[in-house]
Amino acid sequence: MTITNYDERVLKASHPVPGAPNNWRRFFGFNTDAKVIGIQYIVTALFFLLLGGLLGMLIRGELITPPSDLFDPSVYNGLYTMHGTVMLFLFLFPVLSGLTNLLVPPMIGAPDMAFPKLNALAFWLVPVFSIVLLASFFVPGGPASSGWWSYPPVSIQNPLGHFLNGQMLWIVAIGLSGVSSIIGALNFVTTIIQMRAPGMGFFKMPIFIWTVLAAQILQLLGLPALTGGAIMLFFDLNFGTSFFNPETGGDPVLFQHFFWFYSHPAVYVMVLPVFGIFSELFPAYSRKPLFGYKFVAVASFGITILSLVVWVHHMFYTGTPMWMRNLFMFTTMLIAVPTGVKVFAWIATLWGGNLRLNTPMLFCLGGLFNFIFGGITGVMLATVPIDIHVGNTYFVVAHFHYIIFNTIAFGIFAGIYHWFPKFTGRMFYEGLGKVHFALTFIGATLNWLPLHWAGLLGMPRRVASYDPEFAIWNVIASIGAFMLGVASIPFILNMVSSWSRGKKAPPNPWGAIGLEWLLPSPPPHENFEDDIPTVLNEPYNYGLNKPFVFDEEFYISKALNDS
């Protein structure tokens, strides 16, 4: 008894619900539909990716020559601070919230999120805190310039004495972003725990849902610590308290602990959903079951727990006692284990598969490749003696860009392309997609690979001028950066033209398994409404004789055959 055309069969059983009205105006107002909110998030975030990228290119423009000639060094400090902040809080977090909003309800068969109004509120906070942050370019003294981590005592200095200063706006923006993230996290966790389709036990959930759950729990546990620290920083800056002020008995290192207690997990909040995207796409595009589904699922929580106890590895070179360094070196090495489990599972999934190299898959493969590289440099950095040596150099910059751009942003692009037909109802242009991938991959490699060497040779980070011996690496890096800028052109072209006049997308263009692929493209307002399929198995049994959802017709005919 073999089911050859499994996907077709499921499609036939899917629910004849009409497509959603494609009225573009709903994207510009207060809308409580998770699918609208998801797209609002993603489009807003991509706009800030362009802005953050522009700031990045300004930095690389300055660094193309050794002396500090393009900008005044103090302007340069503002540039990298705002670049980092925009990329993390205005691009990465919102874009991931967007994908999560789009994907969670259909993937678990829920009609919408648990708290639709709060969901809309969480989104509308994004433009609010973005404006607050960007307004800091126009206040006297310019934007915050103490780095994205805002370490005191630099961050509690207010030389001009204005209440309204760049650093203060930075703290307010981060605080509001925290409120938005907490509301989002509450919503995602409640939705996943309480609104799954019948039959979808925890060990039948898609890995993307596992990773979102793990990431959002991490958000709920970690983010309040940063909020607490930010409140204290705010008082120190504006009301002369002495929490972190060494001159009046405070302890600046305490802030570093608050900051990294959240901000290390924060990188996992961002990377976990990308692991989820990898785990969805690799099986679908290699037509093989996900290797070790249960291990991959549980490893997400292994990462969650461990990532709460590794934060001090960011403080090895800022005066931590030896016992602390050794302890945290150990925990950091441990976190490589659940991460390694996932990498191994993806490679085993790909191995011998029938790979389909379309744009989303290319971004996934590129992302995985870069992640392996970034993971290795991460383990190097976790080794205390190495870190003391390269701690404040471009090696760290290269490492985390390999993770944050070359892995996370790649995974996000993969996700956007993969689910684009589902949520817009249109196919994208494969040719433009491939051009986008090629430019992005080459640009990113040129940009950050050479900086590893510059860092190992001792080029310090966060200074506008450098020793001419590093010039060659920096020229290559700057060329890569401008190439990434160019890469945005085919991407935008593709998105805009495909969405407006691309080919109409079928419900399941990739032949993928998953509840979302049983719905029409785009899905109707409340997804399955009350007619939710019963889930029988995890959605990765490509080529196996294990049905995904319960299909009445199939079982009736089978029962007749059997008897």
């Binding site: 648990a114 546990l221 607490g228 008082f235 308290t241 608050f258 029962a559």
Partner: protein, 197 residues
């Protein structure tokens, strides 16, 4: 898959409930909120142990008597609110309103006591590490108490709306949970600031 099992599955209703998540969401929120306090407590502990100077000049300790009375009132209000909830479960609405109001009054007295204490202190937010921490912790907690009282007022008003409890008593339950939370936080805070001198 055996036939009998597939037959059983034929009758699985494909339906899940759409609402009733509020309490879950609220509990998750409280867990998260408690971490902000936890961060402050850790900060307090670390600075208390390591700071070169602790109390501001001219201050040798902090009076315990009035705060202790305040504590007793706040802690007992947690029991009082429990009885209010019991009345509501038994559909004794006036009993609920009166006892609920009593809880609000006890909360308000706590805020008043806190105000009196603040106005009698000789140090301020800017008086070194202790001053900063003292006002931060008590102030942040006080904000929660005030929020709790306002929310209770809202629930009190809503209890007069006919049919308000047809869909359950989620609002009252959440706020009573919040009140217990505020209470537990205060006990930890009291031990840190007043007992551990």
């Amino acid at each position: 898959m055996t036939t009998s099992k597939s037959e059983a599955l034929l009758h699985t209703p494909g339906h899940i409930k759409h609402d009733g998540h509020n309490l879950t969401g609220f509990i998750i929120f409280l867990c998260s909120e408690s971490i902000i306090f936890f961060a402050f407590f850790v900060g307090y502990g670390v600075l208390k142990i390591t700071a070169p100077t602790w109390y501001p000049d001219g201050v040798s300790g902090i009076a315990v008597k009035e705060p202790l009375i305040n504590t007793i009132i706040l802690v007992s209000s947690s029991f009082v609110i429990y009885f209010a909830e019991r009345y509501l479960h038994k559909k004794n609405y006036w009993g609920f309103r009166i006892v609920w109001l009593l809880t609000m009054i006890m909360g308000a007295y706590f805020v008043y006591g806190q105000y009196v204490e603040w106005s009698e202190l000789t140090f301020s937010l800017n008086s070194g590490v202790f001053g900063s921490l003292f006002y931060l912790l008590t102030g942040f907690h006080g904000l929660h108490v005030i929020t709790g009282i306002l929310l209770m007022g809202l629930m009190l008003i809503r209890s007069f709306i006919p049919g308000n409890y047809d869909k359950g008593e989620m609002g009252v339950e959440s706020i009573s949970l919040f009140w217990h939370f505020v209470d537990v936080i205060w006990i930890i805070l009291f031990i840190l600031i007043y007992v551990w001198q």
